[in-house]
Symmetry: C2
Subunit: 200 residues, 2 copies
Amino acid sequence: MAPTRTRIQTRNRETILAAGLTVFSGQGFRGATLDEIARQAGLSKPNLLYYFPSKEAIYTELLEGLLDTWLDPLRALDPSGPALEELLAYVERKLSLSRDFPLESRLFANEILQGAPQIGKILSSDLKALVDEKAAVIKIWADDGQIAPVDPHHLIFSIWSLTQHYADFDVQVRAVLGKADPFPGAEAHLEQVFRRILTP
Amino acid sequence: MAPTRTRIQTRNRETILAAGLTVFSGQGFRGATLDEIARQAGLSKPNLLYYFPSKEAIYTELLEGLLDTWLDPLRALDPSGPALEELLAYVERKLSLSRDFPLESRLFANEILQGAPQIGKILSSDLKALVDEKAAVIKIWADDGQIAPVDPHHLIFSIWSLTQHYADFDVQVRAVLGKADPFPGAEAHLEQVFRRILTP
DNA sequence: ATACGATTTGACCAACTGGTCAAACCAACG
DNA sequence: CGTTGGTTTGACCAGTTGGTCAAATCGTAT
């Protein structure tokens, strides 16, 4: 059963996780320090370690809590829905995650970039299984002629890539565009792009 | 004028930069250590610091040396060439960089992810200028009807995103696909995708 | 109020960090 | 051979790192 927690425990664990998200997403696991996380959280370092047994525990809990949220949009892809609309809705849900949770996106990107030492196993088991399942759905849609023929796995990679780019490379995108919020333009562009890719 | 260098200097500086590339691209700037770079290079730590004044100097030299190579494919986009072929060739050049220089790609990705503390300035000056120039070319092509209408800046972002994904998220791609080299599939997929996006 | 467990912290530690320095080493040229 | 300048290193340093611990403080149920 889940451990019983006091109000204070719940609040402080959340504060710490929020601070950890900020620091880990900007520095990666090795580059982040407990002192910095403690400062961000407004707690003393020993106090952090009263709520979490180690630096790694904070990081792991963040990543695992994140993964579900991150895959929900793909899970929601409905095999019985209209193919094109389902895929466009998936793109939009994924882009919304980038807009609303950029830190989470960068945390994940950092982990993968550094070789996925913590979640590598999960990627090749759970994630692979989910992707294979949804790729099969996409293949059926393509074979049916509901969408243009396309490699289902690479299509999924393309969706991930294009949507997460706006969170992960935010600094670059803004530097090139000037100061403007890139998301309105991104959304219109991506809808247009995927319509052209997928329309039979 | 460029500093005169002995044979040993040239060789050791290259060894150090190669080691630095490996370590920085896997850990980011803060996460990397001089000890680890020295170990990778097969040199002692004080010896590293005989060739470079600081950790940051190694990192900066790597990044700056990289940036030119990284932007060459975009520079080579020829306004007088046939639009679709030019853009498809650009995609292929960019994908080749991902295949042949994945460490360089990840080093760059790490720098951007962490807020581009070293090259932020260059992004909003040189990079922005280059992108604006090439975006204007693409706009003309679209207005001419040589390619389908598309937001030029976001098109460039899409090319960067889709091609670099296979280097930066290599671990994830391989985990999902199984062990296979993803690049042959990626190349065919991306050509198909950009043909559909750009064909008028 | 008081007693109890939950919470917080200052002091501390060993390992590691980027970096320094003087001394040793080495290659090549006269 | 010897000297000279480039090269290498062991010993060292001050600051930082993740983590520990006993003692102090707090909250609250009685």
